[in-house]
Every structure is written in structure tokens, then in C-alpha cells.
């Protein structure tokens, strides 16, 4: 039982970047915008966050810098798809490719430098509960921030007026425009929020999860986050479940490799990605067509005037 709190904590650490990025993309997609640039925004957040942390010698500052870098990249995406009404799929893919290159450039001088861990936050009393207390109520501040974000996103989308309008814009931008809702402004906010969270997730990777920078370190986590949004089918609780499930698989495969079950390590490393494909397959077979996706997802919006 000595190991359990430790294992749970590593599961949460592995899941948190996926959860944060997926929450951001969830909001973007609810507004009817498909941003395939999550991977690119994440890696730019990771590189910028790490560089800023080294230069200012503050990991906390680095984390915020990383989040803002992700948002800056999403602003480029917003300019393209909202102002010039470009194809969202192509623009998102281009954003990922650009992000990977840009991150390599930003992180050039910082490869291999180690960072110290952030001091953990302990919730008084609760963290003293045996076993679970240590796992759930001791952690880095971003972990607690991610828990707050779950609540914020779920409440914001379903209980506030802005959330209602955001979902309306995603469901049918033609009707929304006819009713006089500011379609593009609402989508801009959703895209920037998605970028902010993707950047935050990236900074978490380089400053808390691995605590070093190397090019390509996001290793497809942005794509897993995108798959999680599809898996969630519009429900935040399913998104949270999915993120922790994937975190669990990631950690399990590490332990399985160490414990040397008779499976090739390559297979175990591939497991999270295989699970992604399996989850998507399962959804597309079982659900109705386009289950849970916003009605005008991915369609460019050009009002008549």
C-alpha cells in the first residue's frame, strides 16, 4: 500500500496536461470551431514556458508565459478562420506544423537544462487522510487549477448566459446570426480560451511533468486531447473520465515495462494511442452520426451583408 498514493499521484500528473488541453478544445468545439492545432499550441507553450522559467528563474512565471504563448498562437488561427474564413482543418494542421517548428526555435538554447520541481501544495487536514489524502490533496498548483477549470467549464457552458450563447453559435451559426448574436466575437473568445489552456498544458509538460525541454516532447498529446473531446461527445464529465483513464494507461504501461510482463515495450508505449483509436472506433460504430458534435462544427461562417 506504500506505492498507491505515489501511483495515483503520477496518474494525475500524466492526466493533467491532457485534461487541460482537452477542456480548452472542448470549449472551442462547443462554439463550432475545430482547431486541430492543439499539438502545435501545446508544444509552443512548453518551449516558451520553459525558456521563460529559465530566463526569469521562476517556474510559476514560466507556466503563465507558456499559457499566453499558446493563446498568441491561437490568435493567429482565429485571424485566419474568422476574418479570412479559411478551411479550419487545413489551418489547424498548418498551426501544428508551424508550432512544432517554432517551438524548436524557441527552445534551441534550453535543451537538456534541468528545472527544480515546484514546491507541492498541501491542502491542510484533507491531505492527512491516509492513502487518498496524499494523492488527491497534495500536488502542484496547476493540478488544483485543473480541477477548478473542470468546474468552471461545466458551469460556464451550462449555467451562464455566455455559455448558452456560445453553444448556440456552435449549434447553428446561421440562426445565431439571424438572432443578432455576435458569432465571430463569441468564437474568438472560445478560440483564445482553447489556446490559453493548450499553452498551459504544454508548460505543465515541460515545467512540472518532465522538468526539461526537448523538441517534440509533446509527443502527440495534443492529438490525444482532440480525441478526448470527440470521446466526451459534449459532456464534460466524460472528458474528465477519459483524461484520467488515459493518464492511468500511460502510467500503467510504464510500470508494466518495469515489471517486465512478456510484452514488447514498443507495444506498451503505443497503448495510449491504440486506445485513442479504439475509443474513436467504438464511438463511431455505436453512436449516431456525428454524435455530440456541435451542429456547425468546422464550417466557415460568412454572413451576407
Amino acid at each position: 500500500m506504500e506505492m498507491l498514493p505515489f501511483i495515483l499521484a503520477t496518474v494525475f500528473t500524466a492526466a493533467t496536461p491532457l485534461l487541460i488541453a482537452a477542456l480548452g478544445e472542448h470549449v472551442t468545439e462547443r462554439a463550432g470551431v475545430l482547431n486541430l492545432g492543439v499539438e502545435g499550441m501545446m508544444i509552443v507553450g512548453a518551449a516558451t514556458g520553459f525558456a521563460a522559467a529559465v530566463l526569469t528563474d521562476s517556474s510559476v512565471f514560466g507556466i503563465f508565459a507558456g499559457a499566453l504563448a499558446g493563446m498568441a498562437l491561437s490568435a493567429v488561427f482565429a485571424l485566419m478562420v474568422l476574418v479570412f474564413a479559411t478551411n479550419q482543418v487545413a489551418t489547424g494542421l498548418a498551426l501544428t506544423i508551424m508550432g512544432l517548428g517554432l517551438a524548436g526555435l524557441i527552445g534551441q538554447g534550453f535543451v537538456g537544462q534541468p528545472r527544480a520541481a515546484l514546491p507541492p501544495v498541501q491542502i491542510p487536514l484533507l491531505s492527512e487522510i491516509p492513502v487518498l489524502g496524499k494523492a488527491l490533496f497534495t500536488g502542484d498548483f496547476v493540478f488544483f487549477l485543473s480541477l477548478a477549470l473542470i468546474g468552471l467549464v461545466a458551469w460556464g457552458l451550462n449555467r451562464t448566459r455566455f455559455g448558452l450563447l456560445l453553444r448556440a453559435v456552435g449549434e447553428n451559426h446561421g440562426s445565431a446570426h439571424a438572432l443578432g448574436l455576435p458569432v465571430k466575437r463569441i468564437r474568438l473568445v472560445a478560440i483564445l480560451f482553447g489556446g490559453l489552456l493548450a499553452g498551459l498544458a504544454g508548460a505543465y509538460l515541460s515545467l512540472i511533468y518532465t522538468r526539461f525541454w526537448s523538441p517534440g516532447m509533446s509527443a502527440g498529446r495534443g492529438w490525444i486531447a482532440l480525441a478526448l473531446v470527440v470521446f466526451a461527445g459534449g459532456h464534460v464529465w466524460r472528458l474528465v473520465l477519459g483524461a484520467y483513464l488515459f493518464g492511468g494507461i500511460t502510467v500503467a504501461q510504464l510500470h508494466a515495462q518495469a515489471g517486465a510482463i512478456g510484452l514488447p515495450s514498443q507495444f506498451l508505449s503505443a497503448l495510449p494511442y491504440l486506445m485513442t483509436i479504439a475509443a474513436l472506433l467504438f464511438l463511431s460504430i455505436s453512436g449516431r452520426k456525428g454524435a455530440g458534435a456541435a451542429g456547425s462544427l468546422g464550417q466557415p461562417f460568412v454572413p451576407e451583408r
Binding site: R161, L164, E171, A178, L179, G180, L181, G295, R305
Partner: protein, 506 residues
């Protein structure tokens, strides 16, 4: 009559060369139900979009309660007390009725307070609504009640309804009229857009009639007959078509005998017992208000849709009732559907490749490999002979303007030298010059010995082109009657009431 709510003066709005509204004046008073009449494309919807802040007029002024205003957005219009019920519903399918009502209400969410207010309002106006069901599970009538309730929640002084009864059953329409009469009695002004004249005469105390973007009359619809209203809507203007040489009529090339067809669409019209003959050298037109079965008849004649229940279709003397469009083309028939992009042409395909769509049936493009030299040659010939204005030698279909694309489609079919040509809405959304060109082309085709059948909502067009006109109403086709003997008023009455009722009235 109550105080003046709205005064529109000199409203003008152009889309490119087309003037959708041309110096339109309109006044609406409190307590009045005012009809806005006109054919499709007369400019009714454009005018209402301007009044609701969705479109900006090029010139003219809008006064609300005597104050001059600009309406840059629907929100601004709502702030001025204007509510709108759209023809194509502007509801959010996956949202509940209550959420749909909350969306345009500033600062509101779908909570218990709103629910109580909506329920009270619904009771007051006698509108039964299930507030928690997602909209996609509701019927057309229920959806419209949500739209109306949504507009009413904003306490409108003016309510605009764009063809509200087109999707309603007669009972639902009666319930709607009762609601509107309550609303008007409480002091709101109502603008009612329709082309159902009997409804207008039943409900409205005044009517403004638009034709070609201009106001042609303002009248009390109860003081004039439906036939008079129809004549005002369709107008007396004639087009400058060159008369064709006298020619004799030949054998029948299209014969419909007792044709009944079940529809495949949700809002489709079932065709009942249709008889029609078109002979070589003759132009026959089918007139009627949109949605009375014209699209279904076109699909039945081309072999593209519908389930034939009884009767037969003959082309060039052969029974083709059970044969597909290509078999019909092989007998010399050519078809021009209403949808130019997507049905008549592939939008992203160049004009040369679009030749293949109808030409491959006749086998002249090669049996196994397509003869691209020939398709290119055909496209060039069509462009030259039918005066198609193109931005490049072989552009994509989507790059052409509506009029030029229609000239291309008609030309492509005429190049096949058809003996029978069936055209659905030849000049829908086409500028006047291209429309005249297309009509002339079809007249010349008939003069050269082909049979031409034109389905048109534009009565001017039908009158100018046809030797005989038949009118479609509620899935039934009236007997085709020679044009000189047929008055505009008679056609108008057939369009509105159908053959049997019109015969009874005459």
C-alpha cells in the same frame, strides 16, 4: 386605427445589378395586421430583413413611433420593439424550447424565473408548448409556436411573420390567426408576409403589394377579389421577345396520362391524376405558386424521383414510366433542373467536364475512355453560341454568375439537339438580359421543331413564352389552355384556388 408604429420611406437595396427593393414606402399602425404580398423574388424578404436589422438599406429612411432610426443589427431592431418570426425557422435543434427562448433575451438564462414567465405568456396567447423537449423532436407547428413565443417574450410593438403558414396544417393556421388577432387587439402592429391570398383576405385589413422590388399597390384586401390581388402581384409587363416564324405542330413528344405520383420528401406534394400533352413545335408552360407539386412533377418527368402510383409517361411515343433519365435522354429528351449548381452542374468541375453529365448517355463521348477533346470542343461551342460570359476559357461551374451558368446549362442541352426540352424555372435568379436570352433560345428551339415544356413561377415569363398554359395547384394540373384566350386574372385564380374551385366561381 392606432398610432403609427413604422414608416418606411424610399427604401432601396441592390445586390449587384439586381434591385431587390426600389424606393419602397410602407406604413404600419398599431392594432393593424398588414399583409405584404408579392411573388417569389419580389423583394418581400429583403424588406423584412432590412426592418429587422439583418440587411442595411442602400438608401431610404426608417421611422419607428415617429423617430428616425438606423437598425445596424437585429439586437437594435429588438430594442426598438420589433420581433420577427422567420420563414425558415431560426431554432437550435439540439436545444430545449426554453433554451431557444432564452437565447435572444438579453441577460437571461433558461432558469425557473424565465420558465414561469414563458408559461404565463403561453397561457395568455393560448400557445401549448412542451418547454423541456429538444426542438428536433417537435413538429413544424410546435416549432413555430416556440418562434412566436420567443418573439412575444420581448413584448414587441411590431411583429413580422415571414410566410408563417407555409408549413402549417389548416387547424394550426387557424390557431395562429387567433393568436395574431389577440396580439393586434392589444396594440401591436403585425406585418404578415404571404402569397396565400385567401388567408390575407381573412386576416389582414391592409395590404402592400410588391412586384420586382417596387410597391405597385396599397389596398384593403377585403375590398378587392383574390383575382384582383393576384393580377396586382403578377403584373402586366411584357418581355421583348422576337416573334418566331409561323410553324406547324407535329406529333406529341411528351404525354402524361392519368399520372399519380407519391412523394418521397417530408413536405412534398403528391401528384394526382395529371394529364398533359406537348407536341413538336409547341411551347407549354406550367404556372403556379411554388410548392404546389411542380418540383415533384419535374422529378417524375425526368425519372429522378417519386413513386409512380398509376398512369404513364410517354416520350416520343414510347412508354418510359419505369425507365431512368438516361433512357429518356436516348429518346431525345433533355432536362434542365431548377438547381443549377449541384444538380445541373458539379460546382467544382470545369465546364468541359460538366458536359459529361448529360452527354455521356448518348454515347458520343467514347465507350470506355472519355473523349476529352470532344468535351472541350462542346464546352467551347456552347460558350460561344449561347454567349456565356466566362472569367477564363474553361472555368469551374461555381465561378459563373447565375445567368451565365443557366445559359451554359440550357446551351449544353440544346447542343444535344433534343426533340423534347423540359426546363424547371428557366430564369430563377437570373438577371433580365440573360433571362430574355434564355427564353428566346427556347422559343427558337420550338420553332425548329422541338417540343418545349417550361415550369415557371414567373407568370410574365409563362405568358410571354407559351402557346398554352396549365396551372399547378395542390398536386393537380389544370387543363392546358391557349394563351391568347386566357386572362391573367383567370390564371391568378387557378393559381390560388385550383381548377375545380375556379370553375365553380366563374
Amino acid at each position: 386605427m392606432g398610432p403609427e408604429r413604422i414608416r418606411l420611406a424610399g427604401i432601396t437595396k441592390a445586390f449587384g445589378a439586381l434591385k431587390a427593393n426600389d424606393h419602397v414606402d410602407l406604413t404600419l399602425h398599431a392594432g393593424e395586421i398588414h399583409a405584404l404580398l408579392g411573388e417569389n423574388g419580389a423583394g418581400k424578404s429583403t424588406l423584412m430583413k432590412i426592418l429587422y436589422g439583418l440587411l442595411r438599406p442602400d438608401s431610404g429612411e426608417i421611422r419607428i413611433n415617429g423617430q428616425r432610426v438606423t437598425l445596424p443589427s437585429p439586437r437594435a431592431a429588438r430594442a426598438q420593439g420589433i420581433g420577427m418570426v422567420f420563414q425558415h425557422f431560426s431554432l437550435f435543434e439540439d436545444f430545449t424550447a426554453l433554451e431557444n427562448i432564452a437565447i435572444p433575451l438579453d441577460g437571461r438564462t433558461a432558469d425557473a424565473t424565465l420558465r414561469a414567465e414563458v408559461e404565463a405568456k403561453a397561457r395568455h396567447f393560448g400557445l401549448a408548448i412542451a418547454l423541456d423537449r429538444p426542438v428536433h423532436t417537435l413538429s413544424a407547428g410546435e416549432r413555430q409556436r416556440i418562434e412566436i413565443l420567443r418573439a412575444l417574450m420581448q413584448e414587441p410593438q411590431v411583429l413580422i411573420l415571414d410566410e408563417p403558414t407555409s408549413v402549417l396544417t389548416p387547424d394550426e393556421a387557424e390557431a395562429l390567426f387567433a393568436t395574431l388577432e389577440t396580439l393586434a387587439a392589444e396594440g401591436a402592429g403585425i406585418l404578415f408576409i404571404s402569397h396565400k391570398l385567401e388567408e390575407v383576405r381573412r386576416l389582414c385589413s391592409r395590404a402592400t403589394i410588391l412586384r420586382g422590388g417596387k410597391v405597385v399597390a396599397e389596398t384593403d384586401p377585403r375590398a378587392v377579389s383574390a383575382a384582383d390581388l393576384a393580377a396586382l402581384m403578377v403584373g402586366e409587363g411584357v418581355l421583348d421577345l422576337r416573334p418566331v416564324a409561323e410553324h406547324a405542330l407535329g406529333e406529341p413528344l411528351l404525354e402524361l396520362h392519368g399520372l399519380s405520383v407519391a412523394t418521397e420528401g417530408v413536405h412534398g406534394v403528391t401528384l394526382r391524376d395529371i394529364d398533359l400533352t406537348v407536341r413538336a413545335g409547341e411551347v407549354v408552360a406550367i404556372a403556379g405558386v411554388a410548392g404546389n407539386g411542380q418540383s415533384e412533377l419535374y422529378a417524375a418527368m425526368s425519372g429522378e424521383g417519386g413513386r409512380v402510383l398509376s398512369g404513364e409517361i410517354r416520350i416520343a411515343g414510347q412508354d418510359v414510366t419505369r425507365r431512368d433519365i438516361n433512357a429518356r435522354r436516348m429518346l431525345g429528351a433533355a432536362f434542365v433542373p431548377e438547381a443549377r449548381l449541384g444538380q445541373a452542374t458539379l460546382p467544382q468541375g470545369p465546364l468541359s467536364e460538366n458536359v459529361i453529365l448529360s452527354w455521356h448517355a448518348t454515347g458520343s463521348l467514347g465507350r470506355w475512355l472519355l473523349d476529352t477533346v470532344r468535351t472541350g470542343a462542346v464546352a467551347r461551342k456552347v460558350i460561344e453560341r449561347f454567349d456565356v460570359r466566362t472569367p477564363s476559357p474553361d472555368p469551374q461551374a461555381a465561378q459563373l454568375s447565375g445567368g451565365n451558368l443557366q445559359k451554359y446549362v440550357v446551351g449544353r442541352e440544346i447542343e444535344r439537339q433534343p426533340r423534347l426540352m423540359i426546363v424547371d424555372q428557366p430564369s430563377w435568379g437570373v438577371d433580365a438580359r440573360a433571362a430574355t436570352h434564355i427564353r428566346q433560345t427556347l422559343l427558337d428551339l420550338a420553332a425548329s421543331g422541338a417540343a418545349v415544356l417550361v415550369i415557371s413561377q414567373d407568370l410574365d415569363e409563362a405568358m410571354a413564352m407559351a402557346d398554352r398554359i396549365a396551372v399547378m395547384h395542390g398536386g393537380h394540373l389544370s387543363a392546358a389552355r391557349p394563351v391568347p384566350a386566357l386572362s391573367r386574372a383567370e390564371i391568378g385564380l387557378l393559381m390560388v384556388q385550383g381548377e375545380n374551385a375556379a370553375r365553380g366561381a366563374a
